[in-house]
């Protein structure tokens, strides 16, 4: 009996929908592709222009400034970066880092305002929650398909897929952080006659800061994991090495490239977490 129900043509609809978006919004996608692609190429060229030794020293110095009192962290970070250079993965590292930073920044720029909106409207929160669930549970590979349709292959579609996959934690934790502020602090703010903007900037965002920073940390880590997957659609970086090792069944190079990703992840995590615990 169940066989008599015709198959719901959801996949056809989706295909049609994506095709329609691709052609209808190409006037948006094409410039994004061009400008963002060019910008990222500049950044990568710029970063590669810095001699690796100097680069490592700069990162070590920054980590020393950020993580006060700790001597060990800068040294370990230095050793990690040196290892990546030693394995001939320096350029891949720069590519991956650029992709992560750009995807992370875009996710934050989109995610924090969305989280703020969610905290202000229960209707919007109800609407966004299932969408965020979908964004997080959908297998990450699936995002690669429309990304290719919109932007072709290369870095920009990689960024697009990463942003979709990585922004939910920032959105969620911004919303949560603002909603968790105690009623009395909001009353205190209101009782002194704050405008909505003053309340947001002087009270809500500073109070929600730890939560928002935790969300940003999660977002950047997710962006890193997605950037690796995005190597399948031609996003350059450490992921490309992993992918080609997989295709040729080479355990050694795959492990080394994977280790490089782990080192990058640890470095990024340390940086975003300390900027959270500061103050």
């Amino acid at each position: 009996m169940l066989d008599n129900i015709p198959r719901l043509p959801l996949s056809e609809w989706t295909t049609e929908f994506v095709r329609w978006i691709t052609s209808a919004f190409s006037f948006i996608f094409d410039p994004i592709n061009n400008y963002l692609g060019t910008l990222m190429n500049w950044i990568i060229t710029g970063l590669e222009f810095i001699p690796p030794v100097l680069f490592i020293i700069i990162i070590m110095a920054l980590s020393a400034i950020f993580m006060k009192k700790k001597v060990l962290s800068p040294i370990l970070i230095g050793i990690g970066l040196l290892f990546i250079y030693n394995q001939g993965l320096w350029e891949n590292l720069i590519d991956t880092m650029t992709l992560v930073i750009i995807s992370g920044l875009i996710s934050i720029v989109i995610g924090v305002p969305l989280g703020i909106l969610m905290s202000r409207s229960n209707t919007f929160e109800m609407l966004m929650k299932p969408i965020l669930d979908l964004m997080q549970t959908m297998p990450a590979f699936v995002y690669l398909i429309p990304a290719v349709a919109f932007f072709g292959i290369g870095m920009v579609p990689g960024v697009f897929a990463s942003v979709i996959f990585a922004s939910p934690p920032t959105i969620r934790l911004t919303n949560l952080g603002i909603r968790q502020i105690s009623e009395e602090l909001i009353e205190a703010s209101d009782s002194f006659g704050t405008t909505p903007m003053q309340k947001l900037l002087k009270v809500q965002l500073p109070l929600a800061r730890p939560s928002i920073m935790a969300g940003i940390n999660q977002t950047i880590m997710l962006a890193l994991s997605m950037v690796v997957i995005a190597s399948m659609i031609g996003a350059p970086g450490l992921g490309t090495e992993v992918l080609s090792s997989l295709q040729r069944a080479q355990v050694g190079p795959g492990f080394v490239a994977g280790l490089g990703i782990v080192i990058l992840a640890i470095i990024i995590d340390r940086f975003t977490q300390t900027s959270n615990s500061n103050k």
């Binding site: 009395e184 205190a188 009782s191 002194f192």
Partner: protein, 346 residues
């Protein structure tokens, strides 16, 4: 003109249906309305007039609607019906922007759990109300420093609130309200979270500050002793209704209904009643010179020391003039038996 006039103000949490309205008209109690409709009547037809420079205490147990009442005054909560006149202006009719401006100029509030901003220093917390008004930084920090000095915390201005003790944190809360320099000070259970000794200390300090500042203070508390010691007048609330309004003496000596009576039964009357309330007029033939002297404005407990060594009568003086005699038996009767004080003595 009264500073605050609350006219027939009602606040219902939950749906305000025709049914609720009718039940309110029939003067049903809070519990009846809750069980019949599911809506909570937090404040029911409240009428209050608060005069300039008085310390007006709203006292009641939890759930009596006192916290709602104070939030109705600066409209942190909007009334369901009724009018709120502040300095002759109907606050319940103000637009959002007008209300914001009105709050900045007229109200400062102190909260039970202090409500200090943990990421700001003590000084910046104190200056918050002025910062919101866009006062230049230099000017507002100067005013904030002055306010901190008033509450005795000028040495702590660079600390974060969580580095201070509870009592000190509430001093910052008070300084934040004072720095704002508004006529009306709303204090919502401001001292309830403090331990008894610190609470007493803060009460005394508030009374001292008030003598200098002469602000209109609305003070919420669930502690009758606190209400009696700082209030010029007290309103007792029960189930959203105002049970009685009066001076501390009136409340203690002349409770209008059983609820108030039960409340004041266990109170230490010697710390509320003054000598003048229990004295009898001096008879001109009596020789009053031999007896110890007490001032008519003194609280009754001050007479304890003088009654030692078999002395049964004290001479009451007001500004050097003999105005009456207070007898040991009368004091004992008023305090121990809890009899009503005669009308003409009040």
């Amino acid at each position: 003109m009264s500073v605050i006039e609350i006219k027939n103000v009602t606040k219902v949490f939950g749906p305000y249906t025709k049914e609720v309205e009718e039940l309110l008209h029939k003067n049903k109690s809070k519990n009846e309305i809750l069980s019949e409709t599911g809506s909570t009547v937090a404040v029911k037809s409240a009428n209050l007039t608060i005069e300039k420079s008085e310390v007006f205490v709203v006292m009641g147990l939890s759930g009596s609607g006192k916290s709602t009442l104070i939030r109705l005054i600066n409209r942190l909560i909007d009334p369901t019906s009724g009018d709120l006149m502040i300095k002759g202006k109907n606050v319940s009719k103000l637009s959002t922007a007008e209300l914001r401006e009105f709050r900045r100029k007229n109200f400062s509030m102190v909260f039970q759990s202090f409500a200090l901003f943990p990421f700001k220093s003590v000084l910046d917390n104190t200056a918050f109300g002025l910062e919101v008004r866009n006062m230049p930084k230099k000017e507002r920090l100067k005013k904030a420093e002055h306010a901190l000095k008033l509450v005795g915390l000028d040495g702590y201005k660079n600390q974060k609130p969580n580095q201070l003790s509870g009592g000190m944190q509430q001093r910052v809360g008070l300084a934040r309200a004072l720095a704002n320099d508004t006529d009306i000070l709303l204090m919502d259970e401001a001292f309830s979270a403090l331990d008894p000794l610190i609470r007493k200390e803060m009460q005394n300090e508030l009374i001292q500050l008030q003598q200098k500042m002469q602000k209109t203070i609305v003070f919420i508390t669930h502690d009758l002793d606190e209400a009696l010691s700082i209030g010029d007048r007290i309103a007792l609330m029960k189930d959203g209704e105002i049970a009685q309004v009066g001076t501390p003496e009136e409340i203690v000596t002349n409770p209008e209904n059983d609820y108030v009576k039960a409340f004041v039964k266990d109170i230490d009357r010697s710390k509320v009643l003054k000598v003048k309330h229990v004295m009898r007029p001096a008879n001109s033939q009596e020789n009053t010179d031999a007896n110890p002297v007490i001032a008519s404005e003194d609280l009754l407990y001050k007479s304890y020391d003088s009654f030692k060594n078999g002395i049964r009568e004290l001479t009451v003086k007001d500004g050097g003039k003999v105005v009456g005699i207070v007898e040991f038996d009368k004091v004992f009767e008023v305090l121990a038996v809890g009899n009503e004080v005669e009308e003409d003595a009040r």
